[in-house]
Symmetry: C2
Subunit: 86 residues, 2 copies
């Protein structure tokens, strides 16, 4: 696979992974309940994805950078929603 195709593949991987948080946000918004969701999950994921973002910067891997910015955003929204619905 050439580097252009690999970057595109990575972008798809990043898009799918990031999209994984959307159903959780939608479910939380609909039910106004996030009691069973651990606070630590989005908090630790935010830390981890920030590190991935830095890793992506050093590697120059656009897919890793973009996916992790979006992922951090989703986790922050989840933390705020859990706070509001608590």
């Amino acid at each position: 696979m050439d580097s252009m195709a690999l970057e595109l593949f990575g972008l798809v991987a990043g898009a799918v992974t990031s999209a994984g948080f959307i159903p959780q946000l939608v479910r939380g918004y609909r039910t106004k309940k996030l009691e069973d969701v651990s606070y630590f999950m989005p908090i630790v994921l935010t830390a981890g994805m920030t590190l991935w973002f830095i890793y992506g910067l050093f590697l120059g891997a656009l897919a890793v950078i973009v996916a992790n910015i979006f992922g951090v955003g989703c986790c922050l929204v989840l933390i705020i929603m859990k706070k509001i619905y608590a």
Copy 2:
């Protein structure tokens, strides 16, 4: 940062991100309740992390490979736990 240091940094990033699912598994195990956790989150994340795993294979990035194997494992456990506690 040289490539060895970058790989180590990536491994830390992967370890932290993967660790993010552990508090959710622990909380679920303790409360025996995962009602507020969307089924689609771990399902879509499993698909996305499988793609990341393949991306890591092509890139030869050990950190990406290891982190995503662990992540897929955590998501599968979460799906099974939600099924059992339903």
